[in-house]
Symmetry: C2
Amino acid sequence: MQGISGQTIKRLPLYLTYLKTRKTDETYVSSTTISEDLRLNPVLVRKDLACVMTGKPKVGFLREDLIAALEEYLGYNRLDSAIIVGAGKLGRALLDYPGFDAYGIEVIAAFDISGDDRTSARPVLGIDKLDDIVKRMHIKIAILTVPAPNAQDVAKSLEASGIEAILNFAPVHLSLGESVIVKNVNLATELAGLAKSLAEAKEKSNEPKESRDH
Amino acid sequence: MQGISGQTIKRLPLYLTYLKTRKTDETYVSSTTISEDLRLNPVLVRKDLACVMTGKPKVGFLREDLIAALEEYLGYNRLDSAIIVGAGKLGRALLDYPGFDAYGIEVIAAFDISGDDRTSARPVLGIDKLDDIVKRMHIKIAILTVPAPNAQDVAKSLEASGIEAILNFAPVHLSLGESVIVKNVNLATELAGLAKSLAEAKEKSNEPKESRDH
DNA sequence: TTAATATCGATAAAATAATATCGATAAAAT
DNA sequence: ATTTTATCGATATTATTTTATCGATATTAA
């Protein structure tokens, strides 16, 4: 009903990081500027931003307001708690990853079969404490960084404990109930996809006879 | 010209991991089975798979061949070398990440201003050695895990050294030449997006009066 | 050998997303 | 004050993606 396309939602964080990292004193940004820097269609940018706030003709969008509106819309102001399950190298890296805080996600702790370890800023706890903590603190979001062979079983137990959304780093397909939202992040395929794009780009430049790109 | 949609390409790794992790002795898989397990439209699955190989009516797709074809298509058999730039927690985690090997990406080494460190299986080298190694080994792919404030400058120097594709973990927009392929991975926004999806799903279930979903 | 069934593949239709165009508005310049 | 210019917003067009439908094919069983 609110009719915001998934594609648009995917681009909104892009605008946000762009606006945030762009060091400038200008109070206004125009959609055309953004589109040029991000190499997107200007109308597309305008249409996306129109979902979030309205700009002023001739001047553009008030930069600070736009950032605030994007953060508001994306729900970054809401403070969510999350846990990490699996304290291997990746899990521990994410446990100390500073970026989550900035987007309003508070990572409480990591859990691992190896048991307690409080040498880091945030604790690593034994997996046996997970169920209790998740229920007591009403945590709904989990980051899953266990080895692939264990992922399905662990995910099932997370579901049983009341977790409703899982960011899954294990390269397996999780079979869970319909109500659980699963978002897969496969670092290997991201990289492999990049390698493929590169290979394709090279092919194209090597065989320009085939290209009739008009 | 080869007209494979971007959406399809995004789904192919999904099929691959599904086929790989699905423990079964069956030699054949049907597109309908896949679509049910992955909760996709069966025709969509069939159409996607048709880009890669052809199945047999009545029996389905030969499982091993399908895996091989997907890997072949996605270029996982080609062995690419990559480097990691920025050996913080995330960079080191990725350096030892076992998943890349499986997809035909060989991570040679990580580079960091902190200098050499060979305590891990793969070396962390001083950033001063980067240019030489990239040029000597003709490395084209870099994984960028430096802090956000340094990302743009480092990326520029990578471009100068001959890197042609960057998997960027820094939450900033990189401004580089057109020929450099940049793929952004923002772990924080992935998680934030998940949190938002969860919030939306709850809203929907709380206010069913608004829903006229048919 | 023939009929029934499950599955593929191709074509068509519907839904969704991206782009182009045009008029309106407000700031700046003459 | 009027013209010019840059930008937004809305509508319309085009392209892409997803879904539905139909016929063909091979396997199984009678």
